[in-house]
Symmetry: none
Subunit: 216 residues, 4 copies
């Protein structure tokens, strides 16, 4: 269903459509964005879009599914390079996640907010990818719990909580804002560490109290 129009993917015009579409869906929402707006933003007439995409729905699906594919790929890469212990893997996951969300806040945002605009088939495909991603975190949490370094009341609920917390970043992150991405990453790595850390274990690598002031 909805095979992409032959030969158009990757062309300059298609990339312009993708870029403008991403921004418009991010700013106004899929339903509120009209193809007239999209076309006029890139100097085309409405009907000309159909030389590059086959439907509006397809454009949304491309944006979301390619983002999810990239997210999964890069998460795997980041985790391959991470240290083996769960605490290190968790920090690596959070650091990767934060940075990826900051870099691609629009893709991240619409991949959440426009799920319901996907047609059933597309919806299911994306939800499956989301679950793959969530599973990566759940596995880390479970590993840490079974090694006794994490205290995890409920791995799924905790994973959802962590992911929600990090997803929120892309709604307020501002490249010109008070906090650098490095600072943000550090803050959230630490927040997550604290949230799951097993306090019966000895403290390690916690930054000295008060140092956080330098972040502000």
């Amino acid at each position: 269903m909805m095979a992409r129009t032959q030969g158009s993917s990757g062309t300059a015009t298609f990339e312009a459509i993708r870029k403008a579409g991403l921004r418009l869906i991010y700013e106004r929402g899929y339903e509120a964005m009209s193809l007239r707006q999209l076309a006029s933003e890139i100097g085309l007439v409405q009907g000309s879009l159909y030389n590059h995409i086959s439907t509006k729905q397809e454009l949304l699906f491309i944006l979301i599914s390619e983002h999810m594919r990239d997210l999964l790929q890069h998460a795997d890469l980041a985790l391959e390079e991470a240290p083996k212990p769960p605490s290190g893997r968790l920090a690596a996951f959070v650091d990767f996640h934060v940075n990826y969300h900051i870099d691609r806040k629009r893709e991240v945002f619409i991949s959440y907010s426009e799920l319901r605009s996907l047609e059933p088939k597309n919806f299911e495909a994306i939800v499956a990818m989301r679950k793959d991603y969530e599973k990566k975190l759940i596995l880390i949490l479970k590993a840490g719990a079974s090694e006794g370094v994490f205290t995890i009341a409920d791995p799924q609920a905790v994973a959802f909580g962590i992911l929600s917390m990090l997803a929120g970043i892309c709604t307020w992150y501002n490249p010109k804002g008070r906090l650098s991405r490095k600072q943000i990453s550090a803050i959230f790595v630490e927040l997550v560490r604290g949230a799951v850390y097993d306090r019966t274990s000895p403290l390690v690598s916690r930054p000295a109290k008060g140092r956080a002031g330098t972040l502000v």
Copy 2:
């Protein structure tokens, strides 16, 4: 501006509109919901809605603003009854927040997701209320930090993180699900406590390791 249509507020029909509107906006989004659908759901003809609301936008604003008003009021009540120490206040805030989000997950969801569908004037009014709410948490965090019982890298970022984490609950909470609201509240109170807890202080009131397993 946009005073509610005289004399209709509180009537049975108006309440039916509010209820169906809430559900439809939650399920499909404001843009995707048509007033024809809404009307037919409550056994009216489209035009009859206008005896009760003056515009579609007004309906959205009523739903969101009344929710925010209630949220602020109930948060104040919950905090009045809370113990004075920051750790107790934080737990009370999180517990209140989680429960309120579970009870009114649809209002909570649309108050986030449909912010961008609000006209400028309405948008500003709601954003001001959101900031009032966030401030309540930020003040608790700052109080705990200054008393030395919390480690807070950046109160605003941490507050946003906590609120995002909790907001996520209403996207997956299911009354018939595996976890009760009481369990969920306990899990997240503990997650938040850990996230901000000052580890140089002695541990208090941390549930014994492993007990959480009984939650599942």
Copy 3:
């Protein structure tokens, strides 16, 4: 068809409807005036109008037909008091017409401009009354022509021309304007006199040249 609602004519509310309706139709036109506006102007709710009128169309018909009836009656009165010679009758007619148009400019205006908004039956009734009125002028012109005091190329065309000229007054007359109604009447009586006056006859009662300057 469309008998006026029993017992409402002449009441204070009905008169308020008539007055507001006259103004609104004059300002916006029959099609553009909504009964909601009309009702709200007199402190009623839309549906309440129907205790006083039976349809919007009826209101228009009442306004126009009663105006035409009055116009005919007053024209007859004015002509009864006029001198018998055609030139005097013509002056009397013009003077009456101008003053009546100035006094009731809104009735006059809508009786012209909203003819097409009348349903066929009503339309025909009004057109018949218009013709009665026009006939009064045509008869004066013909009398003057047959007595040799007027030069009338075509009585009907000339009558239409005169009536159109005078009807225009109510589009620009302003009680606070530069010209008084007395001045306006004098100007147009003289214009009409000149337009039809037989120049082979001796001049009579023409104001001295230059006196017109005092009108300004």
Copy 4:
């Protein structure tokens, strides 16, 4: 503001819209004409109109403003060819005006009757053009008055009277009627001449009494 839809002006479809729009507005009035009617008259579906006009209001404005532009241009041409003396210029103006009104009675009619349907900005633009046109006549009248060949009580009032008189023609002129356009023009040229003629001057060029009967 309201630039005409690019590239459609002058096409066959646009001309069909203009033509049908002119007729429908003339027959029913702007408010009473629906775009559904208009579209179906030219074999289009409602929405297709928007490939050629951007709003209903724009269509009205095009019809009126282009008419006014043409009216002004042709009036200038007619006056350029006219003899220099005011009496000749007045006759030329009236002759032009009558013929133009007969030729384009629908444009003329809606340019008067639908003024109030114009949005403020458009309204002002048209009123300015109307004043330009009226000024042409006023200048002729003033010139004749200062040369002593016209008796003009008040140039503006007289100009309005003349224009109203002539405007009325387009409400009753019928190409198959009793009077030809040539006859109508002659009648009104003579009416206007008489209305403003200075009777203290010797009579010139007045048609012999009774000859007018041959017009009927």
